[in-house]
């Protein structure tokens, strides 16, 4: 049994910039182990930048990120890839590649350079395909799939990576509502079944409130609020973060906060 907080991510005093422009300034945040956290905020507030820093894809000017008790920036690339997976925004599949070919590449961190394809690899790929409901389409080329199926194939890739930490950058963009719910449901299933820590950049406030345990709301000048959906989705926070004048009412189905713009 691993310790409770092994898969918690912690950002400490992060400052990140591109050239002259500082996108994130002195930000400290906790992403609890085994919980689902959504990062919300207007375009350009640094949501994706924060997510990329958590996955070590970008090096901050100041501050650090820890996964469990390890400094992410001091870890071996491969060791990190076995503990944390990230699906970047809007990935484009190589021409003609099939769903199974794509998902199999998710096993890379677990395979040696010359080690053959193992039973564990096959089982992980099969399970990932089943979780996203593409087990019958595994030999279809990605470019022949619908938008929703395609997004599920990409998610299967990071599910096959089989990490206790899963980072997703806007996984529901360009999908219709039905498929957005489908994608978030399957991510939540993985979270509930295996206690995977999930961190997602998301746009839809109401879906975030429904599916996520913790919300982080960033505004144009930094952190506005972090905590439970009830604590974060408050009228004054929405105004401060998004410049949105809205009323917050209970969702008639789930009781979670629902944002109704005025």
């Amino acid at each position: 049994m691993t310790r409770m907080n092994d898969n918690a991510l912690k950002a400490e005093n992060l400052t990140i910039g591109y050239g002259e422009r500082t996108v994130i300034k002195d930000l400290s945040l906790d992403f609890p182990s085994g919980r689902m956290t959504a990062i919300l905020g207007p375009n350009g507030c640094g949501k994706s930048t924060l997510l990329r820093a958590l996955a070590r894809l970008i090096t901050p000017a100041k501050g650090t990120v820890t996964l469990g008790s390890d400094n992410v920036f001091a870890m071996d690339t491969r060791a990190l890839a076995r503990r944390l997976a990230i699906l970047p925004q809007a990935s484009k599949a190589p021409e003609g590649i099939t769903v199974a070919d794509l998902v199999r590449r998710g096993r890379t961190p677990w395979r040696g350079l010359f080690s053959p394809w193992s039973d564990a690899d096959a089982a992980a790929v099969e399970r990932a395909l089943k979780e996203v409901g593409l087990e019958d389409m595994s030999e279809r080329p990605i470019d022949q799939l619908s938008g929703g199926q395609r997004q599920r194939a990409w998610i299967a890739l990071v599910l096959a990576q089989d990490t206790p930490c899963l980072l997703l950058d806007e996984p529901t963009t360009w999908l219709d509502l039905t498929h957005q719910i489908e994608v978030l449901s399957l991510v939540r299933e993985r979270n509930r079944a295996q206690g995977v820590t999930v961190i997602t950049v998301l746009h839809d406030l109401n879906l975030a409130a429904r599916f996520y345990d913790t919300l982080v709301l960033l505004g144009p000048s930094g952190l506005i609020a972090a905590g439970s959906p009830q604590d974060v989705l408050m009228e004054e926070n929405l105004m401060a973060g998004l410049g949105l004048s809205a009323m917050v009412v209970p969702d008639p189905i789930t009781g979670t906060p629902m944002v109704v713009p005025r």
Binding site: T77, G96, G106, T108, E139
Partner: protein
């Protein structure tokens, strides 16, 4: 699922067979046709007994040229596929991006300076220098590099090195100038077994180095962020792959000159025939297709105008240039340029 998988594998095997047979036919035709026409049975007798006109053709007249063409074409084709996968663009090929003419320039400069350095070394140095120039000039203000910028900067470097080549040719004495001009167009005339051994030796070493990196290529084509997330040191891996690609192209150039458009055409054509979608399959398809194109181009160059030996590069140019134009117009339509 298994049924579909088998169907896919069968299609791949069929494509591979088509390529193998095409290569064999190209080789046999290339050995038979020339100033003196031989029959297949002449060649067969020559191969078995080592006597007669067939044997002479195999051993001295056409054999070395054909084997060199296979090696050079395969090296160029594989190199093209690497860059096309790496930059995810069918225009990305060492001949379009100026690497092969850079390699050619270094060789011609070496000859002009009267150096005793071996051709593959000169060629590799020139190719790497051109590639570095392209990589550095294509860096954007924020430090990133975009494939299409790399390709367009590469086109520019290509024009520059070609101009350099033309200039140097004018500085050479007449006989040497004609010889250099022919070589710079891409030619397989007067190749001996030394050339064949050289390109296959370099090619074999590079093929092993490439085989180790095929998995990284499969990750890089998913995008840098995802590749890094999957445990790859992306920048270093990309650098190594590009280096291997440049050296492969240089190995081809060292024996055949900067034959244009083989590297550009071999990848997409091979992929179309075998249906390969994984990097390993695409590279092998491209290598075999490159070999076929080169053997056929050399054959056509030798036999299309009776009594006149054209450089093979003239033939690849005739087919390659329209293909490049078509690709460019397609990319522009897609809004990538």
């Amino acid at each position: 699922m298994t049924g579909k998988m088998n169907a896919k594998m069968t299609a791949g095997i069929r494509g591979g067979l088509i390529l193998a047979v095409a290569l064999l036919i190209a080789i046999v035709l290339s050995l038979m046709i020339g100033q003196i026409r031989l029959s297949a049975s002449d060649l067969w007798t020559g191969l078995l007994t080592g006597k007669g006109p067939g044997a002479l053709t195999l051993r001295v007249l056409r054999g070395p040229g054909v084997v060199t063409a296979i090696g050079a074409g395969a090296a160029l084709g594989a190199s093209g596929a690497i860059f096309q996968i790496l930059l995810r663009n069918p225009l990305a090929a060492p001949d379009v991006m100026g690497f092969t003419s850079g390699a050619g320039l270094a060789v011609v400069c070496g000859v002009l300076a009267g150096t005793s350095l071996p051709m593959p070394l000169l060629s590799a140095a020139g190719g790497l220098a051109a590639a570095c120039a392209v990589a550095i000039l294509a860096i954007k203000r924020d430090g990133s590099q975009v494939p299409i910028t790399l390709i367009l900067v590469g086109l520019g470097i290509g024009f520059l090195t070609t101009a350099g080549n033309s200039f140097i040719v004018t500085r050479l004495p007449p006989e040497q100038a004609a010889e250099a001009q022919r070589w710079l167009t891409g030619s397989l005339a007067a190749r001996d077994w030394g050339h064949a051994a050289q390109v296959f030796g370099c090619g074999a070493v590079l093929a092993v180095i490439l085989a180790i990196q095929v998995r990284s290529l499969g990750l890089l084509e998913l995008g840098d962020d995802l590749a890094t997330g999957l445990g790859l040191k992306s920048n270093r891996a990309r650098l190594k792959l590009a280096g291997t690609g440049v050296l492969l192209a240089a190995a081809g150039v060292a024996v055949a000159g900067p034959v244009p458009f083989i590297a550009l055409m071999a990848g997409p054509l091979g992929m179309r025939i075998t249906g390969a979608t994984q990097p390993g399959g695409r590279i092998v398809s491209a290598a075999v297709t490159g070999a076929i194109i080169t053997v056929l181009a050399d054959l056509a160059a030798r036999s299309i105008v009776p009594g006149l030996q054209l450089p093979a590069g003239v033939m690849t140019g005739i087919f390659g240039a329209p293909y490049l134009l078509w690709l460019l117009s397609r990319e522009m339509e897609a809004g990538d340029i």
